[in-house]
């Protein structure tokens, strides 16, 4: 089989863009595939719009990378549903959804760079399935990508530095942000001075958000969590409390934005058999070497999938992966130093913002754990007690948790915690041979054909 491409990059976020541009610059026949309508991923969602500069960061990098993309064959609105080996290369199978249609395409490639990115980690709480309760990432996507403010009165909660730009963006766009509730202790950062000193830009960034929140008079509560969301058919109020249970108060809102950090989408690396490990934040991530090579020959992984660490790190890893995948020598020391510095910062951030334990105790019997299949907490508890089953596979088979449309993406972490499993056992929920649903008709009529795409 002659591959159409030397390097195919899956994912057009910061890591994917950097990888594709680097590979093409090194002379490889390169393609990039992404479900979005254009490049940018989550971080630069909507960054191509005229008014984007106000909402986006690192626009210089963004424009530099966009300028390098015409050398890459681009497949947008194409959702990769699986990747298989094909001779000594690979086949990327995707569903082309341009124009609202559904047909399959296959891209042959000698090497792959997987940059699938990450999504919001979530934990359940009473009322989290009311309309108006959204992930912090979702609220941000609405704002940056669609210029829509999620609601009028918003409470932001969870943990992690991401809560600040979400709150600031909302406030700046006219929403009333009633408060930010951060579960971590305010002094956590003090235990990580090295990371901050080596990443002064991050300090400046943080200070910028703090100023913006102060200007809008948005209170930031630390060691504080959401206890429950209330409402009939949509969220109308939120009860928050200190981590130790005290100071419970209920605030009227029409949107609750919750974020507990991010977790990578690993089904494509897992489908190819790439080795994984559990990162500092409890996420399952891909193991890569100095050149961003996975444990599988010809498969490179870059960005959040190697460890959640933000866009700047993703760009560095992508550049390394693309260059090495195109046949270049190992990463230049400049990039390796940046990567090490940024990874150190990411680890420090994770250690400062753990998901607080004890959230399982705040669940009531009827709190939905699996949103897709509407599986309540009581079902999982009874599975442990009455049926003496304690593993993720049994949870799927006996309660249907993780068996719905999202295939355990949202509830996998929570189910693992409820069953008292260590994070390494979450592979069961992370493997998804079909990583994007496609009609049986599209599957049946998929044939090996070169995809059209936007050729250089």
């Amino acid at each position: 089989m002659t591959s159409k491409f030397d390097v195919t990059v899956v994912g057009a976020g910061p890591a994917g863009m950097a990888a594709a541009v680097a590979a093409a610059r090194a002379g490889a026949r390169t393609s990039i595939v992404d479900a979005g309508t254009g490049p940018g991923g989550q971080y630069w969602r909507g960054a191509s719009a005229v008014e984007a500069a106000r909402l986006h960061h690192d626009m210089t990098t963004y424009h530099r990378l966009v300028a390098g993309l015409p050398a890459v064959t681009r497949y947008f609105q194409c959702h990769v549903w699986t990747v298989t080996r094909d001779g000594d290369g690979f086949l990327v199978h995707a569903v082309d959804r341009t124009g609202g249609g559904e047909r399959t395409i296959e891209l042959g490639s000698r090497r792959l760079v997987l940059a699938p990115g990450a999504y919001d980690r979530q934990i359940p709480f009473p009322g989290w399935d009311l309309p108006g309760v959204m992930t912090a990432g979702g609220v941000q996507a609405l704002l940056k990508g669609h210029r829509v403010v999620a609601g009028k009165r918003v409470l932001v909660a969870g943990t992690g530095p991401f809560l600040l730009p979400v709150a600031a963006g909302l406030a700046d766009s006219g929403a009333s942000v009633v408060g930010v509730h951060e579960a971590a202790s305010p002094s956590a950062w003090l235990r990580e001075p090295g990371a901050l000193v080596r990443n002064p830009a991050k300090l400046g960034e943080g200070a910028g958000y703090a100023r913006m929140l102060a200007r809008h008079r948005i209170p930031v509560h630390t060691r504080s969590v959401v206890v429950a969301a209330h409402g009939a058919d949509a969220v109308e109020g939120v009860t928050t409390a200190r981590l130790d249970g005290g100071d419970e108060r209920t605030t009227a809102v029409d949107v609750l934005a919750v974020g507990w950090g991010f977790t990578p989408q690993l089904e494509l690396p897992l489908a190819l058999g790439c080795a994984t490990r559990v990162d500092v934040d409890g996420s399952l991530v891909c193991e890569v070497d100095d050149g961003q090579r996975s444990s599988v020959e010809g498969v490179f992984v870059a960005g959040e999938a190697c460890g959640v660490g933000g866009a700047a790190l993703a760009v560095v890893e992508g550049e390394i992966a693309g260059a090495v995948a195109a046949g270049g020598p190992s990463a230049p020391s400049r990039l390796r130093r940046s990567r090490a510095r940024l990874r150190r910062f990411a680890r420090a951030m994770h250690r400062s913002h753990p998901v607080p334990s004890g959230w399982v105790d705040r669940l009531s019997d009827d709190t939905t754990v699996c949103r897709c299949e509407e599986v309540p907490f009581a079902a999982l508890r009874s599975m442990r007690q009455d049926l003496d089953a304690h593993d993720g596979r049994s949870a799927k088979m006996l309660t249907r948790a993780g068996m719905g449309y999202c295939q355990g993406r949202v509830c996998g972490y929570a189910v693992g915690c409820i069953l008292g499993q260590d994070a390494s056992a979450t592979t069961g929920f992370a493997k998804r041979p079909v990583s994007s649903p496609l009609t049986l008709g599209a599957l049946a009529t998929s044939v090996r054909r070169p995809a059209a795409g936007a050729d250089p």
């Binding site: 979530q122 669609h146 829509v148 949103r371 509407e374």
Partner: protein
């Protein structure tokens, strides 16, 4: 500004906006009812991962409203349950 219809009502949108974003901008927060308990759902993750925002677009059910771009004249409808009730025997 152009619009699409949602359960017969016109919903304005700007080019590049998703159906879910336009509905949210119009103050609509739910557009389907769940299979088992008939509870309302709308946007949750906003980026196509959670499959909560499923809606019927031009008679096709289970379209993720957060990913599907709004187009003029689109016929968007509230989804009940599986969205495939027409197949029930």
């Amino acid at each position: 500004m152009t619009d699409f219809s949602f359960d017969g009502k016109p919903i304005p949108f700007r080019p590049g906006q998703s159906v879910g974003a336009a509905l949210t901008g119009a103050g609509i927060r739910s557009w389907r009812s769940t299979r088992r308990t008939g509870r309302p759902r709308g946007l949750f993750c906003g980026i196509g991962v959670c499959f909560d925002c499923l809606v019927v677009v031009d008679a096709r059910p289970n379209e993720r409203a957060c990913l599907r771009l709004a187009e003029p004249g689109m016929d968007v409808r509230t989804q009940q349950g599986t969205g495939h009730d027409d197949l029930e025997i």
